[in-house]
């Protein structure tokens, strides 16, 4: 027997006047959300496919050598992306090395230590940093940051660490390190605000547990907050990495745009995103354009790879915990 909204004995009551629930709305909602979700996935595949199609000739002609050679000579139609790959990876890693400690420290300060009245203004300021257009940051980089770096921190670094290959060689100002620093500034707001949300989601009960054992504020942060939020913070870092890999305008303006692989961080470099931005308008031959498309494909691939590796790492972190539970 079917269950009706109102028991038969309740005829005439308010329950009998209720409409049976509509199945249509539920179904429509389900399909709509499914379509939206698929559209996002579809978009990713479409971008990948378009990039692959746009670079098919270059892929055929250079094959794997595209990724392993360093010559970038549009006139001779010789294209190798290695210096760009190197530039993208190194500048992004530099950016992470600089930005992650800063961001997490800022987030810890904002959630754990700062007096309440200062929190909101600080958060707003950090979010404002995110709102600065990339090109303006680049201009600031060229006219303010680079001269300053060239005159003060770089010579100092060279004096201290000049004996290592990373800080040797002539100082021009425009450099891989300057690129890394500008990317760090660009990803700082997002990593900070995501980290802050994650730290805020740590239950107070965890903090109290640590305080009740006589922990100092640093100890509370360490044992109750940071270790609890570890996984989320890792996610924030990966989000930052994704941004860093694709960062274009500001980096292009300060990295020096020289396709070379130099150990020294003072030497200019070039990134995948920068070469596309710089050379698209000049790509007069088909093969040139194809090569730039392939650069795009490589960047797309690196970004996806970075995310996949991150997901995998996150999964092993999680399964390690759950398998310990299951034992």
């Amino acid at each position: 027997m079917m269950i009706t909204p109102a028991a038969p004995s309740l005829a005439g009551s308010i329950a009998a006047k209720m409409k049976p629930p509509s199945r249509f709305g539920d179904k429509a909602f389900e399909w709509l959300t499914l379509a939206m979700a698929l559209a996002v996935v579809g978009l990713v595949f479409l971008v990948g496919w378009q990039l692959a199609r746009g670079s098919s000739l270059a892929i055929q002609r250079f094959g794997f050598h595209f990724l392993t050679t360093s010559t970038w000579d549009p006139v001779a139609e010789q294209f190798g992306a290695l210096p760009f790959i190197y530039g993208t990876v190194v500048s992004s890693l530099l950016a992470l090395i600089i930005a992650v400690p800063l961001s997490i420290a800022t987030a810890v300060y904002l959630t754990e230590l700062a007096p309440v009245w200062i929190r909101q203004p600080l958060v707003s300021l950090i979010e404002m940093l995110a709102a600065i257009p990339s090109v303006i940051l680049g201009l600031w980089g060229i006219f303010v940051m680079i001269p300053w770096l060239r005159d003060h921190p770089f010579p100092f670094l060279k004096k201290l660490f000049g004996w290592t290959p990373f800080f040797s060689g002539p100082i021009y100002g425009v450099s891989m390190l300057a690129g890394g620093i500008i990317i760090a500034i660009m990803i700082l707001p997002i990593v900070t605000s995501v980290s802050r949300e994650i730290l805020r989601s740590v239950p107070n009960l965890q903090r109290e547990a640590a305080y009740a054992l006589g922990a100092t504020r640093w100890e509370v942060t360490r044992i109750a907050v940071l270790s609890y939020a570890k996984k989320g913070l890792f996610g924030a870092v990966i989000l930052g990495l994704g941004r860093a890999l694709g960062e274009t305008m500001a980096v292009t303006m300060v990295i020096g745009n020289t396709p070379q692989i130099a150990a020294s961080l003072f030497a200019p470099g070039y990134t995948l995103a920068s070469v596309i931005a710089n050379e698209f308008t000049e790509a007069t031959t088909d093969m040139y354009l194809q090569a730039l498309f392939e650069i795009g494909l490589v960047l797309f691939g690196i970004t996806i790879l970075a995310n996949l590796v991150a997901q995998l790492l996150l999964k092993t972190m999680t399964t390690k915990m759950t398998s310990r539970v299951a034992q």
Binding site: Q206, A212, L213, G214, V325
Partner: protein, 281 residues
């Protein structure tokens, strides 16, 4: 979010080893563990506790009962300065712990909390730590590194918390893998591992099923041989089962305090009688 007032900020280097007060072991006449006089606490403008005066004797179980919002948890938390974690709290009056002022400028809240442990309503083991790590974390924080000593305290504390037999083969598993009742006993083990002198318990069994509750109550009873225990409960049967003395709080005031048997059999105040007979609250 936890705010901490300026007084708690670790701007000065903590000298953990130096305790807030000299040990009072040589004292022959046992001091009350807590002597609270004219204590009032405000959250912002809102008074939470008004003019409470109470002496809590040593090595006994004192239950604090009262309807929700009567200030019993606040009172408990001001006994180890945990209420300071809530922003804009203000305190007046005196709390003496073994004769020493808990709130004197030289008293360090981290030291206070090391000597006066706490167990919370909801069990809160550290999720990234194993059972063993959870128990000894307090010792590690206090600089104990000796493996043998840590292992010894680990077993001792778990035995005292009546958990050893259930977990002795699973010490490396995460604390979160235990059942709710076991987690709460793990938290009790964690609290007693640092050998505090007092255990404050904030409704320690209210989230547990009857069997787990029974175990925790038995445990409280056994612990009272070694520790002064103050337990907040909204369960009057529990108060009458476990405690030696009972304090009844109502809208921030201490209405009545006495032997548990007396409070439940012949309360002096009308309010107490109304409450324990279930006429309100």
């Amino acid at each position: 979010m936890i705010e901490t007032p300026a007084a708690l900020r670790p701007s000065v280097a903590h000298e953990r080893a130096k305790s807030i007060m000299p040990s009072s072991e040589s004292n022959t006449t046992p001091l009350p563990t807590f002597e609270v006089s004219n204590l009032s606490i405000w959250y912002g403008e809102k008074p939470a506790i008004q003019d409470v005066t109470i002496n809590i004797p040593s090595k006994t179980i004192t239950a604090i009962i009262g309807p929700s919002g009567c200030g019993k948890s606040t009172f408990l938390r001001c006994l180890n300065r945990m209420h300071e974690l809530i922003p804009r709290t203000r305190i007046e009056g005196k709390v003496l712990f073994q004769g020493q002022d808990l709130y004197s400028p030289g008293s360090d809240p981290t030291v206070v909390r090391r000597r006066i442990g706490m167990v919370f309503q909801k069990s809160n083991p550290f999720p990234t730590m194993s059972i063993a790590e959870n128990v000894v974390i307090g010792l590690k924080l206090n600089g104990v590194r000796n493996r043998t000593l840590l292992d010894e305290r680990l077993e001792n504390s778990l035995r005292m918390a009546a958990l050893w037999d259930e977990v002795k083969d699973d010490l490396r598993k995460p604390g979160m893998s235990l059942s709710g009742g076991q987690q709460q006993r793990l938290c009790i083990a964690r609290a007693i591992a640092v050998e505090p002198e007092v255990l404050l318990m904030d409704e320690p069994a209210s989230a547990l099923d009857p069997i787990a509750t029974m175990k925790v109550e038995e445990l409280i009873h056994e612990l009272s041989a070694k520790y002064t225990i103050v337990i907040v409960t909204h369960n009057m049967q529990q108060a009458s089962r476990v405690s030696d003395r009972t304090a009844f709080f109502y809208v921030g005031k201490l209405i009545e305090f006495g032997e548990t048997t007396e409070i439940f059999a012949a309360p002096k105040e009308k309010k107490t009688e109304d409450y324990i007979t279930g006429r309100f609250g």
